[in-house]
């Protein structure tokens, strides 16, 4: 049975539709990421589930019970705020105990439960500290312990890691995943950070302008984005706009881009496309130097010639920007461990990618 079910939930602010007919369900123990740019309605959705915002139409069910009319404190929803919202006048232990007092945990159980929760988030021994005496990461752990202490039916995390610095974020992300799994918490993570969404979620729901655009596993979202928006929002991408020139067997068609280049794409949908947006992920492009000699022609392979514009070695990855004829720029990401050609700006190179790596979005304009 689904722990949470949203049926056609809509919320309007005046003329602006913040949440537009959202349908969402989540099974027990699963982690669902709600991903989208700011203003897409994901935070409003979260606030509707928590009960802080009332929806105009639709049904919100928790464990099969309509909770639309219930106040936040009448629902058992654990909420982790972006800024943690720890009570500054209470100690760590008092913060964790706060919800238990109201959720009817027997007072004899509270001390052992505090201990248990703090050891879960690796904060044992910090009971007597005040939030101001804790680092950002520690505050996050305490906030998580506080949210989980009441054993909520559903846990909502609002941009859980965005206030932390990059390195700590990665560490805590792994730990957060482990903690949520160990308590079998049904969780919704609201975030605009794709890494956070893809790494934490068993499934990812992408929202845009109040609507759900796609729902799928992290791999599906990245490899088979439902539309141009998802492809653009999740991961990096190079874009071309083109018109069909030829159709070949095996689902391969060739497009002439607005810059005059020819790109071949292999896709099940290519049959219907007249004009289309073509997306190429930067990591699916190979770089071949001019000196490497001619490349054997292959109908399912694209070869674009350009000039290296910029090379940025970013640790594990190297970002190479190629300028194609017509001033179009192409981003190529190669792993640093690959024996990548030691290209330098100004050098002439060929960008090679398979036709099957081209994502095709028909242009409905």
């Amino acid at each position: 049975m689904n722990v949470l079910e949203l049926k056609n939930v809509t919320k309007k602010y005046g003329e602006h539709v913040a949440v537009d007919g959202v349908c969402l369900d989540i099974e027990k123990g699963k982690v669902l990421s709600l991903l989208g740019p700011s203003g897409c309605g994901k935070t409003t959705t979260l606030r509707i589930i928590a009960g802080f915002t009332s929806h105009d139409s639709g049904i919100v069910e928790i464990s099969g019970k309509n909770v639309g009319h219930l106040r936040p404190y009448e629902r058992n929803v654990g909420l982790l705020f972006q800024d943690y919202a720890l009570f500054p006048h209470l100690t760590v232990a008092q913060n964790v105990a706060y919800g238990m007092r109201y959720r009817g945990t027997p007072s004899s159980v509270i001390p052992s439960r505090i201990k248990q929760m703090l050891s879960l988030v690796r904060m044992s021994g910090m009971e007597g500290r005040y939030p101001a005496q804790l680092s950002g990461g520690q505050q996050q752990r305490v906030a998580l312990a506080r949210a989980l202490a009441t054993d909520p039916q559903i846990v909502l995390l609002d941009e859980p890691l965005s206030a932390l610095d990059a390195k700590l974020r990665v560490e805590l992300r792994i730990e957060l995943k482990e903690i949520l799994r160990s308590v079998d918490a049904t969780t919704i993570v609201v975030t605009h950070d794709q890494e956070e969404a893809l790494s934490l979620g068993d499934e990812v729901v992408v929202m845009q302008a109040g609507k759900i655009v796609q729902r799928g596993t992290p791999t599906q979202i990245y490899a088979a984005p439902a539309d141009k928006f998802v492809a653009e929002f999740v991961g990096r991408s190079n874009w071309f706009h083109g018109a069909t020139r030829d159709r070949f067997t095996g689902g391969v068609s060739s497009y002439i881009t607005s810059e005059g280049a020819e790109i071949r794409a292999k896709s099940a949908q290519s049959e219907q496309c007249g004009r289309a947006d073509l997306c190429i992920r930067p990591e699916s492009i190979e770089l071949v130097e001019e000196a490497a000699g001619a490349i054997a022609p292959d109908p399912e392979r694209n070869v674009l010639t350009g000039v290296v514009f910029d090379v940025a070695p970013l640790g594990a990855d190297v970002h190479v920007v190629i300028e194609l004829p017509g001033k179009t720029r192409l981003l190529v990401i190669r792993k640093n461990i690959d024996r990548i050609p030691a290209v330098v700006p100004g050098q002439s190179v060929r960008a090679v990618f398979a036709a099957s790596d081209v994502l095709l979005f028909s242009d409905r304009r």
Partner: protein, 283 residues
């Protein structure tokens, strides 16, 4: 940049001079007067009058002690009532009102403080006084409009007229400083609206509440015109007593002793309240 000791002294000199001439000197004159013997019929003490503590022992005469008790008690009641009224209003203005509405509220409150004190007092007199519009209703319910309890009530109403807007303005700042997520966090954890305010909002606004209380107390204790007019001569505050000592009887030493006692009491109050703040404030 390092400043030498000499420069520091030179820079402080103007401020020190102002403090000495305008504050320390007049206060020391008052203090000095309060220890002088007064000869009735004179204005102020005689030059070179002998020293005495009699002016202070007079404070403990029941009649005078009552002035103190009444002043502080009524000011205290009014300050507490002011907080009770002001806090929800301040919370509403800070939290729920649109920024446009908030601006209008704040302007209106500041405007209210600019209103002449006499206008406010006579407005209350015309409403709650013996010939006021509520007079018939009061006499219908059998309220003695010249009795002490009723006059105390009218004086408290007069004090609230100052204290409520002032307290609201102070508390708006306190509520604005409070992270609104905290109340939500409390409610998400199961605390009802009331409990979340009791356990989170109030403890975190304690500094603002105590500041508002102290300012209200100051306004209340030092009130002069409010008891003067609304007390109908039957209920008077220390300020009125001090005025009559200085202005009507010419007994400067006695008036000075009352003034010094008031200063000491007020300092004591501020000390106690700041101790209370440190005790209650855990942030």
């Amino acid at each position: 940049m390092k400043t030498s000791a000499r420069t520091t002294i030179l820079l402080l000199l103007p401020a020190v001079a102002i403090y000495v001439v305008l504050l320390a000197l007049p206060l020391s004159t008052v203090l000095e007067q309060s220890f002088r013997v007064f000869t009735p019929g004179r204005i102020g003490s005689e030059a070179g009058a002998s020293l005495t503590t009699e002016n202070y022992s007079e404070l403990f005469v029941p009649v005078y002690a009552h002035y103190f008790i009444r002043t502080y008690l009524l000011a205290f009641c009014a300050s507490v009532i002011a907080l009770i009224f002001a806090f929800p209003i301040a919370y509403y203005i800070a939290r729920n009102a649109s920024s446009m509405a908030r601006k209008s509220w704040i302007s209106a409150l500041i405007g209210l403080l600019f209103l002449s004190s006499l206008v406010r007092i006579y407005a209350i007199q015309l409403t709650l006084g013996p010939v006021g519009i509520l007079g018939p209703a009061m006499s219908f319910f059998g309220v003695n409009m010249s009795g002490g309890p009723y006059l105390n009530f009218v004086i408290v109403a007069g004090l609230l007229h100052y204290q409520i807007p002032m307290s609201i303005l102070i508390l708006i700042g306190a509520v604005l400083n409070l992270n609104p997520r905290l109340t939500e966090a409390a409610q998400a954890l199961g605390a009802s609206a009331f409990s979340s305010h009791r356990t989170v909002t109030l403890p975190l606004c304690i500094k603002g509440l105590i500041s508002a209380f102290l300012v209200s107390m100051t306004l209340g204790v030092s009130a002069f015109a409010v008891p003067w007019i609304l007390g109908q001569g039957r209920v008077l505050f220390i300020s009125n007593l001090i005025y009559s000592r200085f202005g009507e009887v010419g007994n400067y030493p006695s008036g000075a002793a009352f003034s010094v006692a008031m200063i000491v009491l007020s300092l004591l109050l501020i000390f106690l309240m700041s101790r209370l703040t440190t005790l209650l404030d855990r942030t």
